[in-house]
């Protein structure tokens, strides 16, 4: 049903395309789930708003962390698990972390077997480099080298390899289709999504017995971010509008090394290869903040240290508003071999050659640790009024959109790509199994479908008001000012008020261009509504978590509070209230790691 003019979409005339399973998102986790389902012979479609290799996984640089025991034959997935639990500041779910670290090696080798062009060691094995927060022997054996790398283009290599594997498997792609909202039936089971083909503007109900949200991050809620322009939290927005829970939304990672002014990422692998941060005096200041791990402390620690240097007047540049990442001592040969991509990016965006000059860097919004809560099978969980978990039938989530939660309060570098492939796969496996056993999802009514059309109908029929780009800028400004690396109650309360106002303004959002063909203004208006949901959830959860843990740091509650907050936060859009959910301390194989003071 073509969208043009002010016409309303209605269930009675909306065409239906039916699948066994649909995957929304064509990045790493979506393509991994898609591959699994295509190989199982199910009738599936990967629905992606961009051609799959344009997804943000392509921008991942440093690598995929996994105990494949290449750099160190004695490496152990349990050490990786220990690091990840500690890195999460103990609110990562230990059953999930155990699953990821243990399943990881087989998955990484499988990616290699698919053709991923990993860099190599002299023995012809996959090359691994040091990354932040990595240790041997449960923190006692010094720095580990555990991040498997294809130069500094690992995400590109991984995403293209997965796309290629999907071509081989004959996966069905709905490329440049935009998913708008989930369709829930009367039993609150998910029955598919409303989506439209961007090129034609034709809207459909994509009906499926299993729907996977693999829509990635939402870094565009901030003004300055390493994230692609497409990272607008579409799946998270859909889940929130459908009345489902989101988890740990206050936990946003600020990557220590975004290029100052541009926001583009330079990998932690720079420091893994021997680079380090300096202040205006040329001091390697991380030695003061993290005497052991130094520049390879975990990202939350490094980002805070950098901000302190800047706040205390030791920042670099005329405005003393950034730090320098020094790489010139590594030599042009190593930079060319191991870090060619960041050399390119530094020349383009910082106008310097890192072989001669340090790169100006500043902590920049990078990754959402929070998202749609799931179990290890990718099944989406929501919380009932008595606080107990409930599985949402028909709905899965994986990758950055999900919160399974392997990253807790702070993600370790290289764990994102591992999360994508392991849990994209596990969602696919679970769907395949469920299919064999028979899935009972009942059809939605016309009212159910019309409910899911509300949002897009509102945008399509808007008559006057503000353009989405104006509202988006204001939203990004508020988030940047009030919900950055350091947070204070006053700032957050003001921020929440401003977001409230922005929500009211968004009700009057005006889509002036009602044309049907490749209408990117329509896409951007719908994306703004998703950004707004994510931003508001972030703001309210951040204000509610009255402690400092992982990436969440506030001046009025500077300490971690395990007594009250060794918990996930859970948020619903309808009530705008935050509740708590237990962290999983029940891994299946190893003994749970108990919280301790986190130093590096």
């Amino acid at each position: 049903m073509a969208m043009n003019g002010k016409g309303y979409l209605d269930a009675s005339s909306l065409p239906v395309k039916e699948f066994d399973g649909i995957i929304v998102g064509g990045g790493g986790s979506g393509l991994m789930a898609g591959l699994q389902l295509a190989q199982s012979g199910m009738n599936t479609a990967v629905v992606s708003k961009v051609f799959p290799t344009r997804s943000h996984t392509v921008s991942a640089q440093g690598g995929i962390t996994c105990a494949i025991a290449s750099a160190d034959p004695n490496d152990d997935w349990r050490w990786h698990m220990y690091d990840t639990v500690k890195g999460s500041d103990f609110i990562g779910d230990q059953d999930s972390i155990e699953y990821m670290c243990q399943e990881g090696p087989a998955t990484v080798f499988e990616l290699e077997n698919m053709g991923l062009p990993f860099s190599r060691t002299e023995e012809g094995k996959i090359y691994q480099r040091a990354f932040g927060g990595q240790s041997k022997d449960y923190g006692k054996g010094g720095q580990a080298e555990r991040t498997c790398a294809a130069a500094d283009r690992t995400g590109h290599a991984l995403l293209h390899t997965l796309y290629q594997a999907n071509i081989k498997a004959g996966t069905n792609f709905l490329s440049e289709w935009f998913a708008v909202d989930l369709v829930l039936n009367d039993s609150n089971q998910v029955t598919g999504v409303i989506a439209f083909e961007i090129e034609s503007g034709e809207a459909y109900f994509l009906k499926a017995k299993a729907t996977v949200l693999a829509t990635g991050g939402a870094g565009r809620i901030y003004k300055s971010t390493t994230n692609a322009l497409i990272n607008t939290g579409d799946g998270t927005g859909m889940a929130l509008r459908a009345g489902l829970a989101v988890q740990d939304m206050e936990m946003w990672q600020f990557h220590p090394t975004g290029i100052h002014g541009a926001g583009t990422l330079v990998t932690e692998g720079c420091r893994g290869e021997g680079g380090y941060l300096i202040n205006k005096d040329g001091e390697r200041f991380m030695e003061r903040y993290a005497p052991n791990a130094k520049d390879l402390a975990s990202r939350d620690v490094v980002a805070r240290s950098m901000m302190l240097e800047i706040i205390e007047g030791r920042g670099c540049g005329p405005d003393k508003d950034h730090c320098y990442l020094k790489l010139d001592h590594l030599g042009a040969d190593l930079l060319h071999k191991r870090l060619p991509g960041i050399t390119e990016l530094s020349k383009t965006f910082a106008h310097i050659d890192p072989a001669d000059h340090p790169i100006p860097v500043v902590p920049t919004c990078h990754y959402a640790m929070g998202g749609i809560p799931t179990n290890v099978h990718g099944q989406v969980i929501t919380q009932q009024s008595d606080g107990s978990d409930k599985i949402v039938d028909g709905l899965y989530a994986a990758g950055e959109a999900a919160c399974v939660s392997v990253h807790g309060g702070n993600r370790l570098g290289g764990n994102s790509l591992l999360d994508l492939v392991v849990f994209g796969r596990s969602a696919g496996l679970h769907i395949e199994d469920s299919f064999k056993q028979g899935i009972g999802i009942s059809d939605p009514t016309s009212e159910n479908i019309n409910e899911a059309l509300k949002n897009i109908n509102r945008v399509n029929s808007s008559k006057e008001g503000e353009n989405s780009s104006v509202i988006k800028k204001d939203l990004q400004e508020v988030m940047q000012l009030s919900f950055g690396v350091f947070r204070s109650a006053k700032n957050m309360e003001d921020g929440i008020q401003e977001i409230n106002d922005i929500r009211e303004r968004s009700e009057g959002l005006h889509l002036a261009d009602k044309s049907s063909k490749f209408n990117t203004a329509r896409v951007e208006a719908l994306e703004l509504l998703n950004l707004l949901e994510v931003a508001e959830a972030t703001a309210i959860c951040a204000n509610e978590r009255k402690e400092s843990r992982g990436a969440h740091s506030r001046d009025d509650y500077p300490e971690r509070d395990d007594e009250n907050w060794l918990k996930h936060s859970i948020y619903f859009q309808e009530t705008k209230e935050v509740s708590k959910r237990d962290v999983n301390f029940r891994p299946k194989i190893v003994q749970a790691f108990q919280p301790f003071a986190r130093t590096y």
């Binding site: 921008s59 290699e112 283009r153 497409i230 353009n467 490749f518």
Partner: protein, 245 residues
């Protein structure tokens, strides 16, 4: 850039190719003045976003804005390139910036072209590893030297700048595979882990797939990643010649 004072701005004349199939009008060039920072060298994509703020109906693709996703290939003052990593200082001539869709492919709308033909050619070369090597649940070993052979090949971002700058591709987009697909063909031929070299060469052995390349070298001059598809094509040609004699 939303809070820059007026005295720090200057005017740029931007001219954008416009076409909407629903409006029956012929394609036309839309000119407008946009304010850009005086002292900062912004990218073509940034300028285009500023134009879209004035006229939200302008359509173009964009994603990573850092030159790795390949979305925003376009024709910039006559030369194909990525909007997001082409600074205005390199692109502008006589304070004028003219943006057109990639040439040679059907235009869907404004700067958006239909990439189907381009992707179809990519799919034809079997762009995946074909191997029967023993893995034992581990990686297929590869020496550093063998891995080095993939450098300059695997980094392709499929932006389409090369193939749509190639006159041979313009003439025979269905039969000549084009530089992007051939670069990938050679990426798999060069991979020590791949065992299907002969099969891959068989598929390329006709008058069009590879041999329509006449070494015009537009692909090399426009590739935003600094890759050299022409060299890869020549290597394939050499392998085909070698087999023939």
């Amino acid at each position: 850039m939303n809070s820059i004072a007026a005295e720090q701005l200057k005017t740029l004349k931007i001219s954008i190719y416009r076409y909407d199939p629903d409006i029956g009008k012929k394609p036309y060039m839309q000119s407008m003045d946009i304010d850009i920072p005086k002292d900062k060298d912004i990218m073509v994509l940034d300028a285009l976003q500023l134009a879209k703020e004035i006229d939200p109906t302008i359509s173009f693709r964009r994603s990573c804005r850092e030159g790795v996703c390949g979305s925003d290939g376009m024709n910039i003052n006559g030369k194909n390139g990525l909007g997001c990593i082409t600074p205005l200082s390199e692109a502008i001539r006589g304070n004028k910036l003219e943006l057109r869709p990639l040439p040679g492919l059907p235009v869907v709308k404004d700067l958006i072209v239909d990439m189907t033909q381009f992707v179809d050619q990519y799919k034809k070369i079997q762009p995946y590893l074909i191997t029967d090597k023993e893995t034992n649940g581990k990686e297929i070993p590869q020496t550093v030297e063998d891995r080095d052979k993939l450098d300059g090949l695997y980094e392709c971002i499929m932006c389409g700048c090369c193939s749509t700058a190639c006159p041979s591709f313009w003439w025979n987009p269905d039969k000549f595979l084009g530089p992007a697909a051939l670069l990938q063909a050679y990426r798999f031929i060069s991979d020590s882990r791949d065992v299907a070299t002969e099969e891959r060469l068989d598929q390329l052995e006709d008058a069009f797939s590879v041999f329509r390349c006449h070494g015009i070298m537009n692909c090399v001059s426009v590739c935003p990643k600094g890759l050299n598809p022409n060299k890869a094509i020549n290597e394939i040609k050499k392998m085909l010649f070698k087999r023939a004699v």
